[in-house]
Symmetry: C2
Subunit: 199 residues, 2 copies
DNA sequence: GCTTATTTTCTAAGCGCTTGCTTATACTGA
DNA sequence: TCAGTATAAGCAAGCGCTTAGAAAATAAGC
């Protein structure tokens, strides 16, 4: 019997430092392009220092990925305002999600782009969380369409585009005039209104 | 004196096969996670077979990256219809660009995500081409805003979003109901109209 | 509160294997 | 005939990970 996914994110301070160093390294050089020695070097530790905390390089990636996905899901969950109008809800949702992607763009990059370096089981654990996030967005899109507040010919397509926009932030942020997460959040909340054809 | 970037894409048939095998490998495992032996194995060749064609793994990546960027730029250039209205132009542009990203999603993935495995010089060569593509989209957005056909509070932000949407296709395509490039092209041409606030 | 016992986390060393790439040499089609 | 393309063999360096044992943190006993 293996431990549950949520137990994988060790609460220890040293483990958190290792994850942070690994995020920077993975975001810069990719998972396959990063050596365990390089992660250790960033912390002035010996190459073996990681192993009491994570049994393998892949398990370290999984901890980062799982932590990132739960954090993003929490942000989206907490941003939702079920009693408000679909327009208000969607703006809050997209603004919060976009802001998280911008603020944590290095972590987001690892989380989004290194998924298929995970073992199949770990991949499945993480995909579940991704589906949860998409589902929240989708339900607000559908609520707006049902109330007539949005004009949405294709809920799946619009949701895909909304998610895609936010997820891609970590690839380009920061750029041009958009160097602050708040600026990206405001831009994307407005564009989301346009995408769903809100009044 | 080094050769010009465009000479790097060898016209030989064997070189093209090597690039194709490398695209699949890089798209699956990332640049750092792919070995030159693995690329050779996909072609049933010896590990040394690549070196008469490309002097290093990085040069192979550059050839793929440069070829992909010029192909995408050509597609966008040829899709533009300078005599038409901004709405027609933007739909043609985004439709063609999105379609290319979907059709060549493996190549696009390497092209978009492995940029910083390139040497600084090679990186600069490629970034020039990226700017050219963005500039074409931007000029159509501005033309529509100038003519009053579009309502665009922030041309930079909208252009950023349009490019981001298209570039991210290679991450998720195919998915759900969107398994054909044409379906993605049509969806995105319509969404582009919404993003620029077209009538 | 101080010592002792226990557990956890680290390092130094290194194992077996793989890496990108080179060399020397043979083959092949124009 | 001969440049271009392939191969077999292999080098120096680097890889993920393991081990043995030192050091440091934590818990227990008095």
């Amino acid at each position: 019997m293996s431990e549950s996914p949520s137990q994988v994110i060790s609460p220890s301070k040293a483990a958190a430092r290792i994850r942070a160093a690994a995020v920077d390294a993975f975001a810069t050089s990719g998972y396959g392009g990063t050596t365990t020695r390089e992660i250790a070097a960033r912390l002035d530790m010996s190459p073996a220092a990681m192993y009491p905390h994570y049994r393998s390089k892949e398990e370290l990636l999984f901890a980062i990925s799982y932590e990132g996905h739960t954090a993003a899901l929490d942000v989206v969950r907490n941003a939702d305002l079920p009693d408000e109008s679909p327009s208000t809800r969607l703006q809050a949702l997209i603004g919060a999600f976009a802001s998280w992607q911008a603020t944590h763009h290095a972590q987001a990059r690892v989380v989004q782009y290194e998924l298929n370096a995970l073992t199949p089981e770990h991949y499945r654990d993480v995909v579940k969380l991704r589906r949860d996030i998409t589902h929240i967005v989708r339900s607000v899109v559908d609520a707006g369409a049902a109330s007539g507040e949005f004009t949405v010919p294709d809920g799946e397509g619009v949701t895909l585009a909304l998610m895609s926009l936010c997820v891609d932030i970590c690839r380009w942020f920061p750029a041009g005039a958009y160097t602050e997460p708040k600026a990206v959040a405001d831009l994307y909340a407005g564009l989301a209104m346009r995408l769903v054809g809100a009044a």
